[in-house]
Protein backbone atom coordinates (compact mmCIF):
# COMPACT_ATOMS: atom_id res chain seq x y z
CA UNK A 1 0.00 0.00 0.00
CA UNK A 2 2.94 2.25 0.76
CA UNK A 3 4.21 1.63 -2.75
CA UNK A 4 0.93 2.78 -4.28
CA UNK A 5 1.01 6.17 -2.65
CA UNK A 6 4.58 6.77 -3.75
CA UNK A 7 3.67 5.87 -7.30
CA UNK A 8 0.62 8.07 -7.13
CA UNK A 9 2.70 11.02 -6.06
CA UNK A 10 5.17 10.59 -8.88
CA UNK A 11 2.38 10.22 -11.43
CA UNK A 12 0.81 13.38 -10.07
CA UNK A 13 4.00 15.37 -10.33
CA UNK A 14 4.80 14.09 -13.79
CA UNK A 15 1.45 14.85 -15.34
CA UNK A 16 0.00 17.74 -13.41
CA UNK A 17 1.24 20.63 -15.49
CA UNK A 18 0.37 19.04 -18.81
CA UNK A 19 -3.11 18.19 -17.68
CA UNK A 20 -3.63 21.72 -16.43
CA UNK A 21 -2.63 23.03 -19.85
CA UNK A 22 -4.99 20.59 -21.47
CA UNK A 23 -7.95 21.46 -19.25
CA UNK A 24 -7.23 25.14 -19.49
CA UNK A 25 -7.62 25.15 -23.24
CA UNK A 26 -11.14 23.88 -22.87
CA UNK A 27 -12.42 25.89 -19.98
CA UNK A 28 -10.33 29.06 -20.17
CA UNK A 29 -10.49 29.52 -16.43
CA UNK A 30 -7.35 28.84 -14.43
CA UNK A 31 -9.10 27.81 -11.25
CA UNK A 32 -11.63 25.66 -13.01
CA UNK A 33 -8.81 23.96 -14.89
CA UNK A 34 -7.00 23.16 -11.65
CA UNK A 35 -10.20 21.88 -10.08
CA UNK A 36 -10.76 19.62 -13.04
CA UNK A 37 -7.30 18.14 -12.69
CA UNK A 38 -7.86 17.66 -8.95
CA UNK A 39 -11.06 15.76 -9.67
CA UNK A 40 -9.25 13.58 -12.16
CA UNK A 41 -6.55 12.63 -9.70
CA UNK A 42 -8.98 12.15 -6.87
CA UNK A 43 -10.89 9.72 -8.99
CA UNK A 44 -7.66 7.97 -9.88
CA UNK A 45 -6.81 7.67 -6.21
CA UNK A 46 -10.16 6.11 -5.42
CA UNK A 47 -9.59 3.53 -8.11
CA UNK A 48 -5.98 3.01 -7.28
CA UNK A 49 -6.37 -0.72 -6.87
CA UNK A 50 -7.99 -1.19 -10.23
CA UNK A 51 -5.74 1.00 -12.28
CA UNK A 52 -2.25 -0.02 -13.23
CA UNK A 53 0.29 2.72 -12.94
CA UNK A 54 2.03 1.80 -16.11
CA UNK A 55 3.12 3.99 -18.97
CA UNK A 56 -0.50 3.95 -20.14
CA UNK A 57 -1.52 6.02 -17.20
CA UNK A 58 -1.04 9.13 -19.35
CA UNK A 59 -3.69 7.84 -21.70
CA UNK A 60 -6.10 7.27 -18.87
CA UNK A 61 -5.47 10.71 -17.44
CA UNK A 62 -5.89 12.33 -20.84
CA UNK A 63 -9.29 10.75 -21.37
CA UNK A 64 -10.41 11.45 -17.84
CA UNK A 65 -9.46 15.11 -18.15
CA UNK A 66 -11.26 15.48 -21.46
CA UNK A 67 -14.38 13.95 -19.93
CA UNK A 68 -14.24 16.03 -16.82
CA UNK A 69 -13.64 19.21 -18.79
CA UNK A 70 -16.60 18.43 -21.00
CA UNK A 71 -18.82 17.88 -17.98
CA UNK A 72 -17.65 21.12 -16.53
CA UNK A 73 -18.50 22.99 -19.69
CA UNK A 74 -21.94 21.43 -19.73
CA UNK A 75 -22.48 22.31 -16.12
CA UNK A 76 -21.48 25.89 -16.63
CA UNK A 77 -23.34 26.67 -19.81
CA UNK A 78 -23.79 30.28 -19.00
CA UNK A 79 -23.97 32.56 -21.94
CA UNK A 80 -20.45 33.61 -21.48
CA UNK A 81 -19.80 36.81 -23.32
CA UNK A 82 -16.15 36.91 -24.07
CA UNK A 83 -16.01 40.62 -24.64
CA UNK A 84 -16.84 41.12 -20.99
CA UNK A 85 -14.27 38.71 -19.74
CA UNK A 86 -11.00 40.44 -19.09
CA UNK A 87 -9.50 37.06 -18.23
CA UNK A 88 -9.85 36.00 -21.80
CA UNK A 89 -7.85 38.85 -23.22
CA UNK A 90 -5.23 38.35 -20.56
CA UNK A 91 -4.99 34.73 -21.53
CA UNK A 92 -4.44 35.67 -25.09
CA UNK A 93 -1.79 38.14 -24.02
CA UNK A 94 -0.02 35.59 -21.82
CA UNK A 95 0.23 33.07 -24.59
CA UNK A 96 1.90 35.39 -26.97
CA UNK A 97 5.24 33.91 -26.19
CA UNK A 98 4.36 30.68 -27.98
CA UNK A 99 5.27 32.15 -31.29
CA UNK A 100 6.12 35.71 -30.39
CA UNK A 101 3.61 37.26 -32.71
CA UNK A 102 0.48 38.99 -31.69
CA UNK A 103 -2.81 37.43 -32.44
CA UNK A 104 -4.37 38.81 -35.53
CA UNK A 105 -7.85 40.14 -35.52
CA UNK A 106 -9.03 37.04 -37.29
CA UNK A 107 -7.47 34.80 -34.72
CA UNK A 108 -9.15 36.67 -31.93
CA UNK A 109 -12.45 36.29 -33.73
CA UNK A 110 -11.99 32.59 -34.27
CA UNK A 111 -10.98 32.17 -30.65
CA UNK A 112 -14.14 33.82 -29.47
CA UNK A 113 -16.25 31.84 -31.84
CA UNK A 114 -14.74 28.61 -30.60
CA UNK A 115 -15.50 29.60 -27.07
CA UNK A 116 -19.11 30.06 -28.00
CA UNK A 117 -19.45 26.58 -29.39
CA UNK A 118 -21.66 24.11 -27.52
CA UNK A 119 -19.61 22.05 -25.05
CA UNK A 120 -19.32 18.78 -26.90
CA UNK A 121 -18.71 20.52 -30.19
CA UNK A 122 -15.98 22.66 -28.69
CA UNK A 123 -14.17 19.77 -27.05
CA UNK A 124 -14.25 17.74 -30.24
CA UNK A 125 -13.01 20.61 -32.34
CA UNK A 126 -10.18 21.39 -29.98
CA UNK A 127 -9.16 17.76 -29.71
CA UNK A 128 -8.87 17.76 -33.44
CA UNK A 129 -7.19 21.10 -33.90
CA UNK A 130 -4.93 21.25 -30.83
CA UNK A 131 -4.17 17.63 -30.17
CA UNK A 132 -4.27 16.57 -33.79
CA UNK A 133 -6.49 13.60 -33.02
CA UNK A 134 -8.24 11.77 -35.80
CA UNK A 135 -11.99 11.38 -35.59
CA UNK A 136 -11.67 7.75 -34.56
CA UNK A 137 -9.38 8.64 -31.68
CA UNK A 138 -11.68 11.45 -30.57
CA UNK A 139 -14.59 9.02 -30.58
CA UNK A 140 -12.64 6.60 -28.44
CA UNK A 141 -11.50 9.29 -26.02
CA UNK A 142 -14.98 10.63 -25.39
CA UNK A 143 -16.84 7.39 -25.74
CA UNK A 144 -18.87 8.46 -28.75
CA UNK A 145 -19.53 6.98 -32.13
CA UNK A 146 -17.42 8.08 -35.07
CA UNK A 147 -20.53 9.34 -36.78
CA UNK A 148 -21.31 11.60 -33.86
CA UNK A 149 -17.80 12.99 -33.94
CA UNK A 150 -18.01 13.65 -37.65
CA UNK A 151 -21.34 15.39 -37.25
CA UNK A 152 -20.08 17.50 -34.45
CA UNK A 153 -17.02 18.53 -36.44
CA UNK A 154 -19.32 19.56 -39.25
CA UNK A 155 -21.43 21.59 -36.89
CA UNK A 156 -18.32 23.19 -35.41
CA UNK A 157 -16.92 24.27 -38.73
CA UNK A 158 -20.31 25.47 -39.87
CA UNK A 159 -20.84 27.58 -36.78
CA UNK A 160 -17.33 28.98 -36.94
CA UNK A 161 -17.77 29.84 -40.55
CA UNK A 162 -21.00 31.61 -39.80
CA UNK A 163 -19.42 33.64 -37.09
CA UNK A 164 -16.49 34.89 -39.10
CA UNK A 165 -18.09 35.10 -42.48
CA UNK A 166 -19.06 38.76 -42.13
CA UNK A 167 -15.40 39.59 -41.58
CA UNK A 168 -13.79 37.72 -44.44
CA UNK A 169 -12.89 39.62 -47.57
CA UNK A 170 -14.25 37.11 -49.99
CA UNK A 171 -17.91 37.18 -49.33
CA UNK A 172 -20.08 34.85 -51.13
CA UNK A 173 -23.39 33.34 -50.35
CA UNK A 174 -23.15 29.64 -50.03
CA UNK A 175 -25.96 27.23 -49.94
CA UNK A 176 -26.13 25.88 -46.38
CA UNK A 177 -27.43 22.55 -47.35
CA UNK A 178 -24.50 22.13 -49.66
CA UNK A 179 -22.08 22.89 -46.88
CA UNK A 180 -23.46 20.13 -44.73
CA UNK A 181 -23.47 17.59 -47.48
CA UNK A 182 -19.98 18.41 -48.68
CA UNK A 183 -18.36 18.42 -45.25
CA UNK A 184 -19.72 14.99 -44.54
CA UNK A 185 -17.58 13.55 -47.33
Amino acid sequence: MIEASKQFESVFRNHHKLLCDFAFNFVRDKDAAKDIVQDVFLKLWKNINNVEMSEHIGNYLFKATAHTALNHLRGNERMFRIEDNSDFDRNMALSQDTNGTEFSELEVLVERAIDRLPPRCKVIYLLSRHEGLKNRKIAETLGLSIKTVENQMTIALEKLRNEILPYIKHEIILIFGMVGALLAQ
Binding site: M1, I2, A4, S5, F8, E9, F12, R13, H16, K17, C20, D21, A23, F24, N25, K30, A33, K34, V37, Q38, F41, L42, W45, K46, N91, M92, L94, S95, T98, N99, F103, S104, L106, E107, L109, V110, E111, I114, S128, R129, H130, E131, G132, K134, M153, L157, L160, R161, I164, L165, I168, H170, I172, L174, I175, M178, V179, L182, L183, Q185
Partner: protein, 341 residues
Protein backbone atom coordinates in the same frame (compact mmCIF):
# COMPACT_ATOMS: atom_id res chain seq x y z
CA UNK B 1 -10.81 18.25 -45.50
CA UNK B 2 -9.43 18.34 -42.03
CA UNK B 3 -6.95 15.74 -43.06
CA UNK B 4 -5.80 18.20 -45.67
CA UNK B 5 -5.53 21.04 -43.19
CA UNK B 6 -3.53 18.89 -40.84
CA UNK B 7 -1.26 17.81 -43.61
CA UNK B 8 -2.21 14.19 -43.13
CA UNK B 9 -4.20 13.60 -46.25
CA UNK B 10 -3.44 10.51 -48.34
CA UNK B 11 -2.72 11.00 -52.03
CA UNK B 12 -5.91 9.36 -53.24
CA UNK B 13 -8.10 11.51 -51.05
CA UNK B 14 -6.04 14.54 -51.98
CA UNK B 15 -6.83 13.93 -55.59
CA UNK B 16 -10.52 13.65 -54.83
CA UNK B 17 -10.44 16.81 -52.85
CA UNK B 18 -8.64 18.74 -55.55
CA UNK B 19 -11.18 17.62 -58.05
CA UNK B 20 -13.98 18.72 -55.79
CA UNK B 21 -12.38 22.09 -55.21
CA UNK B 22 -11.93 22.83 -58.85
CA UNK B 23 -15.47 21.67 -59.60
CA UNK B 24 -16.96 25.02 -58.70
CA UNK B 25 -16.16 28.45 -57.34
CA UNK B 26 -18.30 27.83 -54.30
CA UNK B 27 -16.31 24.78 -53.48
CA UNK B 28 -13.10 26.66 -53.79
CA UNK B 29 -14.27 29.45 -51.56
CA UNK B 30 -15.68 27.07 -49.01
CA UNK B 31 -12.41 25.27 -48.90
CA UNK B 32 -10.47 28.47 -48.50
CA UNK B 33 -12.77 29.75 -45.79
CA UNK B 34 -12.49 26.62 -43.77
CA UNK B 35 -8.78 26.57 -44.27
CA UNK B 36 -8.64 30.08 -42.96
CA UNK B 37 -10.62 29.13 -39.89
CA UNK B 38 -8.41 26.18 -39.29
CA UNK B 39 -5.21 28.14 -39.63
CA UNK B 40 -6.52 31.01 -37.58
CA UNK B 41 -7.38 28.88 -34.63
CA UNK B 42 -4.79 29.98 -32.11
CA UNK B 43 -2.59 27.20 -30.92
CA UNK B 44 -2.72 25.50 -27.58
CA UNK B 45 -1.92 27.78 -24.69
CA UNK B 46 -0.37 27.00 -21.35
CA UNK B 47 -2.01 27.27 -18.00
CA UNK B 48 -0.52 30.39 -16.44
CA UNK B 49 -0.23 29.11 -12.87
CA UNK B 50 -0.42 25.34 -12.54
CA UNK B 51 1.13 25.48 -9.02
CA UNK B 52 1.81 21.76 -8.99
CA UNK B 53 3.33 21.81 -5.51
CA UNK B 54 0.37 23.59 -3.93
CA UNK B 55 -2.04 21.42 -5.84
CA UNK B 56 -0.33 18.30 -4.55
CA UNK B 57 -0.88 19.47 -0.97
CA UNK B 58 -4.47 20.30 -1.79
CA UNK B 59 -5.18 16.85 -3.10
CA UNK B 60 -3.53 15.21 -0.13
CA UNK B 61 -5.87 17.07 2.16
CA UNK B 62 -8.82 15.95 0.08
CA UNK B 63 -7.69 12.36 0.22
CA UNK B 64 -7.17 12.62 3.92
CA UNK B 65 -10.70 13.79 4.51
CA UNK B 66 -11.89 10.96 2.29
CA UNK B 67 -10.18 8.52 4.59
CA UNK B 68 -11.54 9.88 7.82
CA UNK B 69 -13.35 6.62 8.45
CA UNK B 70 -10.98 5.13 11.02
CA UNK B 71 -12.05 2.18 13.10
CA UNK B 72 -12.50 3.06 16.75
CA UNK B 73 -10.21 0.27 17.89
CA UNK B 74 -7.10 1.41 16.11
CA UNK B 75 -7.91 4.99 16.97
CA UNK B 76 -7.85 4.25 20.68
CA UNK B 77 -4.55 2.46 20.39
CA UNK B 78 -3.05 5.44 18.68
CA UNK B 79 -4.15 7.74 21.45
CA UNK B 80 -2.70 5.36 24.01
CA UNK B 81 0.65 5.50 22.31
CA UNK B 82 0.43 9.24 21.96
CA UNK B 83 -0.22 9.54 25.68
CA UNK B 84 2.68 7.36 26.69
CA UNK B 85 5.01 9.03 24.26
CA UNK B 86 3.92 12.45 25.43
CA UNK B 87 5.08 11.44 28.89
CA UNK B 88 8.48 10.59 27.56
CA UNK B 89 8.99 14.00 25.98
CA UNK B 90 12.71 13.66 25.61
CA UNK B 91 14.46 16.37 23.69
CA UNK B 92 15.13 13.92 20.97
CA UNK B 93 11.64 12.66 20.37
CA UNK B 94 9.17 14.11 17.92
CA UNK B 95 5.91 12.80 16.57
CA UNK B 96 4.68 13.96 13.24
CA UNK B 97 1.22 13.45 11.93
CA UNK B 98 1.75 13.90 8.25
CA UNK B 99 -1.18 13.99 5.92
CA UNK B 100 0.05 10.99 4.03
CA UNK B 101 -1.44 10.24 0.72
CA UNK B 102 -3.36 7.26 1.95
CA UNK B 103 -3.63 7.07 5.70
CA UNK B 104 -2.36 9.12 8.55
CA UNK B 105 1.33 8.50 8.90
CA UNK B 106 2.86 8.31 12.33
CA UNK B 107 6.54 9.12 12.41
CA UNK B 108 8.98 8.79 15.27
CA UNK B 109 12.28 10.61 15.00
CA UNK B 110 15.36 10.37 17.12
CA UNK B 111 17.53 13.39 16.60
CA UNK B 112 20.17 13.78 19.30
CA UNK B 113 19.17 10.95 21.62
CA UNK B 114 18.29 7.34 21.40
CA UNK B 115 14.56 6.86 21.79
CA UNK B 116 12.38 3.86 22.31
CA UNK B 117 8.70 3.34 22.02
CA UNK B 118 6.03 0.77 21.35
CA UNK B 119 4.25 0.09 18.13
CA UNK B 120 0.49 -0.48 18.17
CA UNK B 121 1.02 -4.22 18.42
CA UNK B 122 3.27 -3.84 21.48
CA UNK B 123 6.42 -4.52 19.53
CA UNK B 124 9.21 -2.39 20.84
CA UNK B 125 11.53 -0.21 18.82
CA UNK B 126 14.68 1.66 19.71
CA UNK B 127 15.88 4.31 17.32
CA UNK B 128 19.46 5.43 17.14
CA UNK B 129 20.45 9.05 16.73
CA UNK B 130 19.36 10.63 13.45
CA UNK B 131 16.96 7.87 12.67
CA UNK B 132 13.33 7.82 11.82
CA UNK B 133 10.56 5.30 11.73
CA UNK B 134 7.22 5.66 10.05
CA UNK B 135 4.10 3.56 9.91
CA UNK B 136 0.59 4.18 8.67
CA UNK B 137 -2.78 4.13 10.33
CA UNK B 138 -3.57 0.73 8.91
CA UNK B 139 -0.69 -0.90 10.77
CA UNK B 140 -1.68 -4.23 12.20
CA UNK B 141 -4.85 -4.80 10.18
CA UNK B 142 -3.53 -7.15 7.54
CA UNK B 143 0.13 -6.35 7.58
CA UNK B 144 2.57 -4.72 9.90
CA UNK B 145 4.82 -2.53 7.82
CA UNK B 146 7.17 0.14 9.01
CA UNK B 147 9.67 2.26 7.16
CA UNK B 148 13.04 2.86 8.73
CA UNK B 149 15.67 5.46 7.99
CA UNK B 150 18.88 5.11 9.93
CA UNK B 151 19.24 2.47 12.63
CA UNK B 152 16.75 0.68 14.82
CA UNK B 153 16.54 -2.28 17.15
CA UNK B 154 13.32 -4.23 17.00
CA UNK B 155 11.69 -6.46 19.57
CA UNK B 156 8.87 -7.97 17.59
CA UNK B 157 5.94 -9.58 19.35
CA UNK B 158 5.09 -13.03 18.09
CA UNK B 159 2.07 -12.87 15.84
CA UNK B 160 0.61 -14.53 12.81
CA UNK B 161 0.58 -11.22 11.00
CA UNK B 162 4.00 -10.72 9.41
CA UNK B 163 6.06 -7.79 10.56
CA UNK B 164 8.28 -6.02 8.08
CA UNK B 165 10.74 -3.17 8.19
CA UNK B 166 11.45 -1.44 4.95
CA UNK B 167 14.63 0.50 4.28
CA UNK B 168 16.00 1.92 1.09
CA UNK B 169 18.01 -1.15 0.19
CA UNK B 170 16.36 -4.06 1.92
CA UNK B 171 13.23 -5.19 3.68
CA UNK B 172 13.37 -7.40 6.75
CA UNK B 173 10.49 -9.69 7.66
CA UNK B 174 10.10 -11.18 11.08
CA UNK B 175 7.76 -13.27 13.21
CA UNK B 176 8.45 -12.82 16.90
CA UNK B 177 12.11 -11.97 16.95
CA UNK B 178 14.70 -9.46 17.99
CA UNK B 179 17.04 -7.84 15.56
CA UNK B 180 19.06 -4.78 14.77
CA UNK B 181 18.80 -3.07 11.43
CA UNK B 182 21.12 -0.37 10.24
CA UNK B 183 20.38 1.31 6.96
CA UNK B 184 22.53 3.76 5.06
CA UNK B 185 22.52 4.98 1.49
CA UNK B 186 24.79 2.19 0.42
CA UNK B 187 23.97 -0.75 2.64
CA UNK B 188 21.61 -2.41 5.05
CA UNK B 189 23.02 -4.46 7.93
CA UNK B 190 20.83 -6.84 9.88
CA UNK B 191 21.88 -8.65 13.05
CA UNK B 192 19.59 -11.15 14.67
CA UNK B 193 19.60 -11.64 18.43
CA UNK B 194 16.62 -13.91 18.73
CA UNK B 195 14.43 -15.85 16.37
CA UNK B 196 14.53 -15.79 12.59
CA UNK B 197 14.23 -13.09 10.01
CA UNK B 198 14.00 -12.98 6.27
CA UNK B 199 15.83 -10.24 4.48
CA UNK B 200 14.90 -9.24 0.96
CA UNK B 201 17.04 -6.79 -0.89
CA UNK B 202 18.07 -6.22 -4.47
CA UNK B 203 18.18 -9.61 -6.05
CA UNK B 204 18.70 -11.62 -2.91
CA UNK B 205 16.55 -13.22 -0.29
CA UNK B 206 18.14 -14.60 2.84
CA UNK B 207 17.06 -16.18 6.03
CA UNK B 208 18.96 -15.30 9.17
CA UNK B 209 18.91 -16.99 12.52
CA UNK B 210 19.94 -15.93 15.95
CA UNK B 211 23.56 -14.95 16.00
CA UNK B 212 23.74 -14.30 12.30
CA UNK B 213 24.00 -11.05 10.48
CA UNK B 214 24.00 -9.92 6.91
CA UNK B 215 25.05 -6.93 4.91
CA UNK B 216 23.10 -6.04 1.81
CA UNK B 217 24.46 -3.47 -0.59
CA UNK B 218 23.44 -2.54 -4.08
CA UNK B 219 25.74 -5.07 -5.59
CA UNK B 220 25.91 -7.96 -3.17
CA UNK B 221 24.81 -9.58 0.06
CA UNK B 222 27.04 -11.22 2.63
CA UNK B 223 26.09 -13.41 5.52
CA UNK B 224 28.08 -13.44 8.72
CA UNK B 225 28.22 -15.37 11.89
CA UNK B 226 28.11 -12.91 14.71
CA UNK B 227 28.52 -12.93 18.41
CA UNK B 228 25.64 -11.27 20.13
CA UNK B 229 27.99 -9.00 21.97
CA UNK B 230 28.03 -5.70 20.20
CA UNK B 231 24.62 -5.79 18.66
CA UNK B 232 22.79 -2.62 19.43
CA UNK B 233 25.31 -1.34 21.94
CA UNK B 234 24.18 2.09 20.83
CA UNK B 235 21.03 1.66 22.80
CA UNK B 236 22.83 2.33 26.03
CA UNK B 237 23.26 5.98 25.30
CA UNK B 238 21.21 7.98 27.72
CA UNK B 239 18.23 5.70 28.04
CA UNK B 240 16.03 5.29 31.07
CA UNK B 241 15.78 1.54 30.83
CA UNK B 242 19.49 1.09 30.71
CA UNK B 243 19.86 3.19 33.77
CA UNK B 244 17.85 0.48 35.44
CA UNK B 245 20.22 -2.14 34.18
CA UNK B 246 23.06 -0.27 35.72
CA UNK B 247 21.31 0.54 38.97
CA UNK B 248 19.74 -2.81 39.64
CA UNK B 249 21.83 -5.44 37.95
CA UNK B 250 20.46 -8.15 40.14
CA UNK B 251 17.22 -7.84 38.20
CA UNK B 252 18.96 -8.72 35.02
CA UNK B 253 21.32 -11.42 36.10
CA UNK B 254 19.24 -14.56 36.06
CA UNK B 255 20.48 -17.37 38.19
CA UNK B 256 19.91 -20.97 37.63
CA UNK B 257 21.10 -23.40 40.23
CA UNK B 258 20.97 -26.90 41.46
CA UNK B 259 22.35 -28.29 44.65
CA UNK B 260 23.51 -31.75 45.46
CA UNK B 261 25.67 -33.49 47.92
CA UNK B 262 28.88 -34.90 46.65
CA UNK B 263 30.79 -37.96 47.78
CA UNK B 264 32.11 -36.31 50.85
CA UNK B 265 28.71 -34.87 51.63
CA UNK B 266 29.47 -31.36 50.69
CA UNK B 267 26.80 -29.30 49.11
CA UNK B 268 27.69 -28.44 45.63
CA UNK B 269 25.91 -25.48 44.21
CA UNK B 270 26.15 -25.20 40.50
CA UNK B 271 24.39 -23.49 37.71
CA UNK B 272 24.65 -20.60 35.40
CA UNK B 273 23.95 -16.94 35.31
CA UNK B 274 22.40 -15.28 32.31
CA UNK B 275 22.74 -11.62 31.51
CA UNK B 276 19.28 -10.77 30.37
CA UNK B 277 19.91 -7.08 30.13
CA UNK B 278 19.36 -5.59 26.70
CA UNK B 279 22.41 -3.49 26.71
CA UNK B 280 24.56 -3.48 29.80
CA UNK B 281 27.63 -5.63 30.18
CA UNK B 282 28.59 -6.66 33.65
CA UNK B 283 32.26 -6.85 34.38
CA UNK B 284 32.62 -8.46 37.71
CA UNK B 285 30.00 -9.73 40.04
CA UNK B 286 29.56 -11.81 43.07
CA UNK B 287 27.34 -14.66 43.87
CA UNK B 288 26.19 -14.73 47.42
CA UNK B 289 25.34 -18.16 48.64
CA UNK B 290 23.60 -18.31 51.95
CA UNK B 291 23.01 -21.55 53.73
CA UNK B 292 22.07 -22.78 57.12
CA UNK B 293 24.03 -25.58 58.66
CA UNK B 294 22.66 -28.15 61.01
CA UNK B 295 23.88 -26.10 63.92
CA UNK B 296 21.32 -23.51 63.00
CA UNK B 297 23.69 -20.81 61.93
CA UNK B 298 23.57 -19.24 58.57
CA UNK B 299 26.63 -18.69 56.56
CA UNK B 300 27.30 -16.73 53.44
CA UNK B 301 29.82 -17.54 50.86
CA UNK B 302 30.87 -15.12 48.23
CA UNK B 303 31.71 -16.45 44.85
CA UNK B 304 33.45 -13.88 42.75
CA UNK B 305 32.92 -14.20 39.05
CA UNK B 306 34.85 -12.43 36.42
CA UNK B 307 33.12 -11.11 33.42
CA UNK B 308 32.73 -9.48 31.22
CA UNK B 309 29.29 -10.90 30.79
CA UNK B 310 27.68 -9.33 27.80
CA UNK B 311 23.94 -9.11 27.17
CA UNK B 312 22.60 -12.50 26.28
CA UNK B 313 25.65 -14.36 27.55
CA UNK B 314 25.65 -17.07 30.13
CA UNK B 315 28.34 -18.01 32.59
CA UNK B 316 28.54 -21.23 34.60
CA UNK B 317 29.66 -21.65 38.14
CA UNK B 318 30.17 -24.32 40.71
CA UNK B 319 30.85 -23.93 44.37
CA UNK B 320 31.42 -26.45 47.02
CA UNK B 321 30.21 -25.34 50.41
CA UNK B 322 32.27 -25.99 53.49
CA UNK B 323 29.50 -28.02 54.99
CA UNK B 324 30.76 -31.50 54.72
CA UNK B 325 28.83 -34.03 56.68
CA UNK B 326 26.32 -31.47 57.65
CA UNK B 327 22.71 -31.37 56.95
CA UNK B 328 22.34 -28.09 55.25
CA UNK B 329 19.08 -26.46 54.78
CA UNK B 330 18.11 -24.96 51.45
CA UNK B 331 20.55 -22.71 49.99
CA UNK B 332 19.92 -19.27 48.64
CA UNK B 333 21.84 -17.93 45.73
CA UNK B 334 21.78 -14.27 44.95
CA UNK B 335 23.73 -11.67 43.14
CA UNK B 336 25.99 -9.63 45.29
CA UNK B 337 28.11 -6.76 44.18
CA UNK B 338 28.24 -6.10 40.53
CA UNK B 339 30.60 -3.97 38.60
CA UNK B 340 29.15 -2.54 35.50
CA UNK B 341 31.14 -1.85 32.40
Amino acid sequence: MIEKFSGRIVPDDDKLLSEWISASVENKLLFETLQKIWDSTPGKIHHPEPDTEAEWLRIQLKIQSENKKVSIKSNLRWYAIAASVALLTLAGLYIFRKPAAEFHAITFSATDKVVDFYLPDSSRVWLNINSELRYYENFGREKKEVILKGEGYFLVRPDVIPFSVETSLATVRALGTEFNLRSTDSSAVVSVTRGKVEIVGGRTKMELKKGQSATVSRTQSIKNQNTLSDVASWRGIGDIEYGEERRSPEKFLMIENTTRKNKIDQTVVEGSILNSAAQTTYRKFELKITYVKSNGRSYTVIVPLDGPLKPGERISYRKRLPDAFSKTRPVRVEIGKVEVK
